[in-house]
């Protein structure tokens, strides 16, 4: 699994599963930025009532309120009860507490309070990866694998027909993908343009010799 010297074969690929985010801090950062839209955004987006990522198309209510203001209000109510969390009410707007959070207490309490929402978010990432695996081919690069800076680890990037984009690290033990990011970019944009973007990225890695070929595609 680690060397993948001749590429990633279809069987190995089919057995890969998204295990979760690479760590709890990264998971919370992405949940509260992309889904709840409560932090790590420009000021105009922190107060906007329009959700550009439209996660309510993917995650049902509950756990995700379709109205963005109701979604934020509900999240703030839950966070208010977690004293050690930097996102609780009273923190300055635009603060980026998840990035530097090292409080195991806060992370545990947030995990518990947002377990349903986090599970749905992760499930969406898992489904996107599964779709990309099933549909990847030379002509349809919905998934690409590459190395960076000569490091042994393989990175994966994928997009599905619901415009969920994800990136992850292949675990060294094999079989698991640890998410580095998961978001929806321009859900109204044609899928073929996201495919074109991934095609550019794949061609660049191919020319640089950093592409990990997916055998049989």
């Amino acid at each position: 699994m680690e060397s993948l010297s001749s590429g990633l074969d279809k069987k190995t690929l089919s057995e890969l599963r998204v295990a979760g985010f690479v760590n709890t801090r990264v998971a919370h950062l992405h949940l509260f930025k992309h889904v709840v839209r409560l932090c790590d955004l420009p000021p105009e987006e922190l107060y906007a009532s329009r959700d550009p990522e439209k996660w309510s198309e993917i995650i049902p209510n509950p756990p995700l309120a379709p109205d963005l203001r109701a979604r934020r209000r509900k999240a703030r109510e839950s966070l208010a009860a977690i004293d050690s969390c930097g996102l609780r009410v009273g923190r300055p707007e635009g603060d980026l507490p998840c990035r530097t959070c090292s409080s195991a207490d806060a992370q545990g309490a947030v995990d518990e309070a947002f377990s349903d929402l986090m599970a749905s978010y992760l499930e969406a990432g898992r489904q996107a990866f599964e779709w990309a695996k099933r549909n990847v081919s030379e002509r349809l690069p919905f998934l690409l694998a590459f190395r960076q800076n000569g490091q042994p680890g393989v990175r994966l990037k994928f997009v599905d027909n619901r415009k969920i984009t994800g990136a992850g690290l292949l675990s060294r033990h094999g079989g698991e993908v640890l998410l580095l990011t998961c978001y929806r970019k321009d859900p109204g944009r044609p899928l073929s343009l996201l495919k074109l973007s991934l095609s550019r990225e794949r061609a660049g890695h191919r020319n640089e010799g950093t592409l990990v070929p997916i055998q049989g595609c």
């Binding site: 420009p42 987006e45 190395r147 580095l180 044609p190 495919k195 095609s199 061609a203 660049g204 640089e208």
Partner: protein, 402 residues
């Protein structure tokens, strides 16, 4: 000659052209729909739709420009122009193109800025896990700048001139670029990911993606190396003069490049830099890497340049010979059944330098020129290879066309 001609990635080119066809058809439909509307706003002669219709048409045009810009950067401008057909002469299409670029800047690029700068600041000191996450976020944010550049290039082809962006869009783009340019060095830990992000484009377009291209040949450890340099100067202040000499050498190279551009001859770089750029670090099957130092000469004396070395990279190939580099030497292999002329090793001839004869390598019919020789500071040279049947004169840099 089979190398080093550059060819666009076939799958990417095919996907790009298919996308142009599809998006151009949508734009034509949108423009036709708008021109059929009876209640055009007074004073608007171009027939651009308003509000909802305008937004939809602008989206279609933005998508089309993305594909057209990709085609241009792949060196397929003529093909893209053929596919656009009647849209090329349309004033309405040109106005819509400018609106699409402005919208992209306003809705995609500007919102990405604050997060991007936060991520860039944190990258250097980030720990494992967080660092890879930051890298992905930075790459995604900079991809928005790609979209704007591709759309602008697409608009240039469509309109035949610079797109007429409104002042707010121009200011937002300039602001983004100024802030990014000042902090771009902090993205060096992305290493060869930056090179890969522009390597899909034809060589002459890569510099246009400057946020990826600038310094993309530097190792991902460059900022850590900077700390080493700081410690060296702290412990050995006498070494500062050597550092300043190196900086001066880099500036001379830059001014040579600028002079070359001014003369309209394209970018001028030393043969050494040209060859080292061609040479990319490779990963061994075990994933292990080893670093070595290549001693090279600057314009005024020798200095050490860090490079990664794993295998040879072929640069030029014919039936009779192969020219390659391993990062330390320029290597000439005479291919069987050809043989080198006895006592006539290959020679490198450069203006203002004495001819340099290659040394015989341990392997049969192999000759090497050390890149540390001052002749490689010249911007161009002729490689003369005397074979038993003929003499070959090969110009360096090699002829690279799209």
């Amino acid at each position: 000659m089979s190398l080093p001609w550059w060819k666009p990635d076939e799958e990417l080119l095919a996907a790009t052209l298919a996308e142009i066809d599809e998006r151009a058809a949508e734009v034509r439909r949108a423009l036709a729909f708008v021109s059929s509307l009876p209640d055009q706003q007074p004073g608007r002669e171009s027939g651009i739709p308003l509000d909802h219709d305008r937004a939809a048409a602008t989206d279609h045009m933005g998508d089309l420009l993305d594909a057209v810009g990709t085609a241009v950067f792949l060196g397929a401008s003529d093909t893209a122009r053929d596919r656009l057909g009647d849209l090329l002469d349309s004033r309405a299409a040109c106005d819509l193109a400018a609106a699409a670029v402005s919208r992209l800047i306003e809705e995609s690029l500007s919102p990405a800025l604050s997060g991007l700068m936060n991520d860039i600041y944190e990258l250097v000191a980030a720990e494992d896990g967080d660092r890879e996450c930051l890298e992905e976020r930075i790459v995604d944010a900079l991809a928005e700048r790609d979209r704007v550049e591709l759309a602008m290039e697409g608009a240039r082809l469509l309109c035949g001139c610079e797109p007429e962006l409104d002042d707010d869009s121009l200011a937002a783009l300039a602001s983004f670029d100024d802030l990014l340019r000042a902090e771009l060095w902090r993205t060096l830990p992305l290493g060869d990911r930056r090179a890969a992000r522009c390597a899909w484009a034809a060589p002459r377009y890569r510099e246009r993606l400057w946020w990826w291209f600038r310094g993309c040949d530097l190792p991902h450890t460059a900022l850590q190396d900077m700390q080493t340099v700081a410690r060296v100067i702290h412990l050995f202040p006498e070494a500062r003069q050597e550092l300043e000499r190196m900086l001066e050498a880099e500036q001379i190279l830059d001014s040579l490049c600028a002079a070359g551009r001014d003369r309209g001859r394209g970018k001028v770089i030393s043969l050494r830099e040209y060859l080292l750029r061609k040479f990319r670090p490779k990963t061994s099957s075990s994933g292990e890497t080893r670093q070595m130092f290549v001693c090279v000469s600057g314009p005024r004396g020798p200095y050490d340049l860090a490079a990664s070395h794993y295998e040879e990279k072929p640069l030029y190939q014919t039936a009779e010979l192969t020219v390659s580099t391993d990062g330390e030497n320029l290597i000439v292999d005479i291919e069987s059944p050809e043989k080198p002329l006895a006592d006539r090793p290959p020679v490198l001839e450069a203006p203002d330098h004495a001819p340099l004869a290659a040394r015989q390598a341990p392997e049969p019919n192999r000759f090497e020129f050390p890149l540390s020789n001052p002749v490689f500071s010249a911007p161009e040279a002729w490689l003369v290879v005397s074979l038993t049947t003929s003499e070959r004169r090969i110009r360096l840099p090699f002829d690279e066309r799209e």
